[in-house]
Assembly symmetry: C2
Homo-oligomer: 549 residues x 2
């Protein structure tokens, strides 16, 4: 005995979850809606559809077959969007190359993913030149060129992107195939060892798109997604499909803006000029924008921004709210496609005061539909959801990487016990909100107890003189580690007297029960800048070495 199974494959009427099936209706829905690249180019969904077909024809002409891998090295652009669709829809695999890695690491990923073709922006050639002779499987290289001037380089190109697309045949019959076909791959910027490749299937991208939609749509009692929303990504397209958002907004046929490189003035100009209503970024970008002199002069009150990648400090959240930017945290990672949770504001919370709502906005929220989240102790047992007890965050959902590419042992670690291990530490409160308190490896271990580095950063971020802060553990003979806090002050702020003032804030936090006594940092150091990883997160591994003594 068992469940009654419905006969589905092979049959004439099976309907696989393929990227092409979330793409095609946008042409019916919004043929004349615009897609915009910086201040350089604007075209319609009709153009996008035509060019996606042409790109597929051009790649076929180049010899790309099902199962081949096509690497893209570009800035956020309409071209990248074309690749998001055309390459997987042909049955090939899109490798979004992590262009903030070093040339040697990029070489590793190109060879490891066994790329067949590379599409490269002329401005990124300096990354490719030093490694060009060590690339192993690549048969063709296509140049993406934004000006007429040919770049000076020793690399031989087989064509330019624009030439190849414009001259290609129109119309491509994107085939049906198994929904478990690999669609995308990319590499995490792991701070130790070689980058690790994750990969996602068509089924996973489609389901993630719907999960994302459902998560964003009911985020609030106000609409977050309507047909008038205008979308602009501010997390790079090479990084976890820009959170999968380009798939969602293309499916819906909304107006989209691709900003190229992230320059504060250009971003704000686009937000205001194109009436952008929805973006997503890491806290660093919002920090940069809020501190830009232009921000004070423009109206940002229609802009909703989802924050992820690192924890949103309360001080930054409240600075953004002062500019009337509507911020919500979300949570995910390269291994998770990425979205897992989002900071919904529940209807009964709407009457809460701003402080309490900032607390909610800075948590990472509740799991979106089809996502299971648990917090487990080192023995693998679930920890109660009391908003206090912490443990490692583990998850299950249909859109998780099934492993690391060609890396059996790391894949087994990742999936220990049938749950994906995020390496993050957090707690879940009685309302069901997840709060990430640390990376498992960034937790400060002092006297056998754990101190959350993120909590310390959160506390100090609320001091008006603080621009950025990082808390790390430094080696201590007696306690194992002791917390210190590094602070970048706002421009033209003298540091005299501030160390004592800030230490007093931590003592207050201890008295209010926000941190334990042993969590009060030994030192507050004022520094000019704080080391960051390629995707703009605090690089605590580097900081721990830098400040070890």
């Amino acid at each position: 005995m068992g469940v009654k199974l419905i006969e589905t494959t092979p049959s004439a009427y099976s309907y696989p979850l393929l990227v092409k099936n979330i793409f095609k209706n946008s042409l019916i829905r919004s043929p004349d809606q615009e897609i915009i690249y910086r201040d350089k180019m604007r075209y319609t969904y009709r153009d996008l559809h035509r060019r996606v077909g042409q790109l597929a024809n051009a790649l076929s002409e180049l010899g790309v077959k099902q199962g081949d891998t096509v690497a893209v090295m570009d800035f956020d652009s309409h071209r990248y969007l074309e690749c998001y669709f055309a390459i997987p829809m042909m049955g090939a695999v899109l490798h979004t190359v992590h262009i903030r890695l070093s040339p040697e690491q990029i070489l590793y990923t190109i060879n490891h993913a066994q790329d067949d073709v590379i599409l490269v922006n002329s401005e990124l050639l300096p990354l490719l030149e030093p490694i060009k002779d060590k690339i192993e499987t690549v048969k063709k290289i296509i140049l993406i060129q934004e000006t007429d001037k040919a770049p000076e380089t020793a690399i031989q190109f087989d064509d330019t992107y624009e030439n190849m697309v414009t001259n290609a045949k129109k119309g491509y019959e994107f085939p049906d195939f198994d929904e478990n076909a690999m669609a995308t791959t990319f590499y995490t910027s792991g701070t130790t060892g070689n980058p690790k490749g994750v990969y996602f299937s068509h089924r996973q991208l489609v389901l993630h798109t719907f999960g994302l939609m459902t998560g964003l749509c009911a985020i609030d009692s106000q609409a977050v997604m309507t047909s008038k929303d205008v979308y602009m990504p501010l997390t790079p397209m090479f990084h976890v499909h820009a959170w999968g958002m380009p798939y969602l907004f293309t499916m819906l046929g909304n107006k989209q803006i691709y900003p190229g490189r992230y320059e504060p003035e250009m971003i704000l100009k686009l937000v205001v000029g194109e009436k952008v209503t929805f973006s997503h970024c890491v806290p660093t970008i919002i920090h940069m924008l809020v501190n830009s002199p232009v921000a004070d002069k423009v109206d940002l009150s229609q802009w909703k921004v989802v924050i992820g990648g690192s924890a949103l400090p309360k001080g930054l959240c409240s600075a953004a709210l002062k500019h009337k930017i509507n911020l919500y945290s979300a949570y995910g990672m390269s291994e998770t496609c990425p979205l897992l949770t989002i900071a919904h504001i529940k209807p009964h919370m709407e009457e809460w005061n701003e402080d309490a709502l900032i607390d909610i906005r800075c948590k990472t929220g509740m799991p979106i539909p089809l996502v299971d989240i648990e917090i487990i102790d080192p023995m693998g047992n679930p920890v109660p959801h009391d908003g206090v007890q912490t443990g490692e965050v583990v998850t299950r959902t249909p859109w998780l990487t099934q492993g690391y590419l060609h890396n059996q042992s790391k894949s087994e670690e990742l999936w220990e016990g049938g749950w994906l291990h995020t390496g993050d530490v957090g707690h879940i409160d009685t309302e069901g909100y997840l709060k990430i308190t640390d990376r498992l490896k960034d937790v400060i271990k002092t006297g056998g107890e754990w101190v959350s580095s993120l909590t310390l950063e959160d506390i100090i971020s609320q001091h008006p003189a603080v621009s950025e802060a990082a808390a790390i553990g430094i080696p201590d003979e007696k306690w194992g580690e002791r917390p210190i806090v590094l602070v970048v002050l706002k421009p033209d702020t003298p540091s005299q007297g501030l160390e004592e003032e800030m230490k007093a804030i931590f003592m207050d936090a201890f008295k209010k029960g926000e941190i334990p006594k042993y969590g009060v940092p030994d030192k507050v150091l004022f520094v000019d800048e704080i080391a960051k990883t390629g995707v703009g997160k605090l690089d605590k591994k580097v900081l721990r070495v830098q400040f070890a003594d």
Copy 2:
């Protein structure tokens, strides 16, 4: 060579698309949100979750196993909602019995679906009594009783629903199983021959829920779905899962109202008293409400209603808009789970005048994501999307019944050429909107040409004296068929002079090019009522017999 396949099954980390996976997060999201049954009962999602576990335990105790079929005969209620989840989530099949069929037809469906258990509302016992001795596979019958008074009946019950649920063990570990497991089955009220059974899998219900969400969410530049929306179905829960909406609103954790039987005063009382913002129904229900004396006295301006099941006549749409009810058409059928299209208002249409927008609201709209719609001629070739040329509507999407239960030949007809044949005639305009012009079998064939009965109804519905109308073809020796129109006038409206006046309207429509000359009806007949099917559609088969001479 082919696509690169990702290894997914069997593995510890596969995550099937099961109904339980869209259910569970509602407890985190909205534990204290309310679910309401008429003016009789209100409880929270916490209660719903507890009772769904208890219902599963109670059914297990009764002997229900995976693959068994449990039939429900009830009115729209919290109990039905519990069954929507508990029964499929156990791995059993939910048979939502069509309670508007005759006892003999109901008997046919119970035996044909091989039901193991029946849950029956005491008020529906008159349907079960005449057939009780001919039921073949049912082992247990459970009584749903809303009062303390035991019903007078010869049927032996094994328990009552409330007793069984309340006394059952709490907590049920709903198992994982194949997402292609059958979850639901029900029978269409076909007007010829025996009812035909359709069936849907867990995968299909989950994907339909996400499609529905995406379709509804971006329906307009105004929010249609927020966390504050309050949902009340007005299409019965036995009929195509009440359009799958209970699955959607439960997933989102919104407030829900189940109205029991459809009585205009009770419905309007609930809409106003519980601040209902979203419903869906057939035109007949809106017609009944708009003509109820209560409707003039209450504020319905927050109420959005999606209309389906039959075409929305323009006159009715404009009457509803006068009450400030926001109407949108949608399209689907029992075989399609059901949603296929919905009448989005595109951003550029918002400036259109009310008449033009009524045209849009009365079309059935654009396909929602993952839905393919085509219009084909009798040879199976696609017809151009010019808003004029008609053909049969065919569709592909992941949520179509894979056939008719135990009926190979009808299944093959349904799926001829790898597309599901709807039996509807329509056209698609250049904006991509589908307009259904007729049922293939209701098209009036006169002099070798087709006349759309729906167009004739639409034209006459705009006359202020018309309450309801039906157009049919009656046999004619010379022309094959000739159109006539049956009209129910508004109360206390004398019919003198109206036939000539209405014929003149059709002549005008001909002069304006809306219908061909041979489409002008020979007769306008005033009648007291128009025959309807069990789900409230005009029963043209009966009408054609009734008015044949």
